[in-house]
Symmetry: C2
Subunit: 351 residues, 2 copies
């Protein structure tokens, strides 16, 4: 018969240590403020009684929970895992715990998690999905009060929320520049979901790159898609079915890139000989794939750390205005890109 422990409280500890309740509280909260003798007595008593702080009581009284909500659209997406580790690392350093909310892209669900802020159950929130959940929560009304919130990777339009990420437009440009530098002139782009802000930034970078390097830009060059292998495959199929297929593809993320490669292989094409592919994100499997993916590496751990650090400041000082942070990305050249088999024209020099 598992007996729940009749929990010891501060009162019990105070009694046993022959001090007042307040002194016990202070002994734990502000180590300097209680004399050496008493502190020792208190610690000993707490140990003997197997005392543990009741966090709910503390939160109730101090109006803060020590918890931070992290909203993720899909925890299965490997892009987020390292990010999460960075967040968690920094959170621990700040004495905070994180609560991961997987929204599956469901706004309703996101709102549920966001409500944790309202109920004082969380002190702040990190957004990973490019949408402000509160908005959905009860119609169009945005919560009037401001909570500590920071966004990672995606700038949230119309919301005054600090962000840490990379310059996606520039990265997209660089991906195209790499392909153009190899001699490709017919470069397609498979995009992410239309409602995602990153999609447009990367596509914009693509467009500028294509223009700057004098490459082709035909109507079907920009394929709509989604951040998944399946979508990448489907889009690649369309591209390959077109009248003049591209010799290279810039995919909006690595999963799309993998999908594209699968489809190309299925049609007997060799990557990179017949088709070059560059991805985005540099997920763990990018390096292990066959061929190893050329892709844009984002400093994910650092992004997580920085975001959490910013949030920490915001929690202690809500009036603090945080500026956006843009970190360095990196084009990682691996085996999925090569010069086109028959260079349509001679290689274009980079501007």
């Amino acid at each position: 018969m598992p007996t729940r422990r009749s929990t010891a409280t501060m009162k019990d500890v105070a009694l046993k240590a022959r001090v007042s309740l307040a002194t016990v509280s202070r002994a734990f909260a502000a180590p300097g403020s209680v004399s050496e003798t008493l502190t020792q007595r208190i610690v000993a008593a707490a140990r003997d009684l197997n005392y543990t702080l009741n966090v709910n009581a503390r939160s109730l009284r101090s109006q803060s929970s020590g918890l931070v909500v992290v909203l993720i659209p899909d925890i299965g997406n490997p892009f987020f895992s390292v990010l999460l580790q960075g967040i968690e690392e920094q959170a621990r350093a700040l004495g905070l715990a994180i609560l991961i909310g997987d929204t599956h892209g469901d706004r309703e669900l996101a709102a549920t998690y966001a409500r944790l802020l309202d109920t004082r159950r969380a002190d702040g929130m990190i957004l990973l999905n490019g949408t402000v959940p509160n908005r959905a929560h009860d119609g169009a009304r945005l919560s009037p009060q401001r909570y500590p919130v920071v966004a990672i990777s995606e700038r949230i339009p119309g919301a005054d929320i600090a962000m840490v990420g990379i310059n996606n437009r520039a990265a997209g440009f660089e991906a195209v520049a790499h392909l153009a530098g190899l001699g490709h002139r017919r470069i397609a782009h498979i995009m992410g979901p239309a409602d995602n802000i990153l999609t447009h930034e990367r596509a914009q970078g693509y467009r500028e790159g294509v223009l700057a390097h004098g490459c082709d830009l035909w109507p079907e060059a920009l394929q709509p898609g989604a951040f998944s292998i399946r979508a990448g495959r489907a889009a690649m199929a369309k591209l390959l079915d077109g009248p003049a297929p591209p010799t290279a593809v810039f995919a909006a993320n690595d999963e799309i890139a993998i999908g594209a490669i699968i489809e190309a292989k299925a049609r007997g094409l060799h990557v990179p000989r017949d088709l070059s592919v560059v991805g985005f994100d540099d997920i763990e499997y990018a390096e292990s794939y066959d061929p190893a993916l050329t892709t844009i590496n984002q400093p994910r751990r650092e992004m997580g750390r920085r975001a959490m650090a910013m949030l920490g400041e915001l929690i202690t000082d809500p009036d603090h205005r945080q500026a956006d942070v843009n970190l360095e990305y990196q084009l990682v050249v691996r085996a999925s890109t090569a010069p086109p088999r028959v260079a349509s024209r001679k290689p274009v020099s980079r501007t």
Copy 2:
């Protein structure tokens, strides 16, 4: 100047609705127990005042948090993501939230999360890493009191904790049976980390399979490893450097399998023509890999759901004894296995 909302409490709602505090509480907690008229007045007042329940106060009073801790050794491991979704789904159905604790295999960290149970901040715990964290927490002493805990996938030795998973031994056996059925006689096994229980169960299944099908069993056939691509690669290299390399490999999980394939390819071998590989887990990338992985599929979402359901029962009734649950697994045959190039002997029929 972001003004924190001067939060409305139940008292305010009671005042506005001209009822007592208790009635408001009951109106929310037990819908049936308050008259229609009052309920309406209360709901209206709550809406007008923008009232939200203070969860900390509730937790303090009711001694439960509505939170469940899920301990994961590595959130980056794709095996866990779907599992998590199953857990989360079921948790939501039960009105519980989950707190994901990534331990990075660090016992100290696991103990930190486990302490959430002590501090009444969590009502229960789901273990995904095969170790009981409390044990590490303060030396050898296991907490005397019992908390609602259930383990997924790994039976925890020496602890009386209910588990949901699959029969890993049988699955290992089946993997070998599949290879033997294709005609392989020289089948190696790359194992997971030695301190993991699954490692031994799968290895045991392998041994029994090899024996039952009259295959070779040489000293180096069982390669120690870890659940990672890198480890799989290294082990495969050793196997291939041996005097009589295997024609097939059973890897303890998919990442090992991918590592093994990478190494084989690097040496100019073709999979499955020169080497058959079967993995374990059927992670998302198994299907997309080249070649698509033959592997053991675990019903991950269902495992998560069941575990959470069991935990739910345990939370409401701590005395309830839960029996272990073994779910159905499935061997998924894809492109990474084939008959050996030169069948060493004629195909062995399955017993």
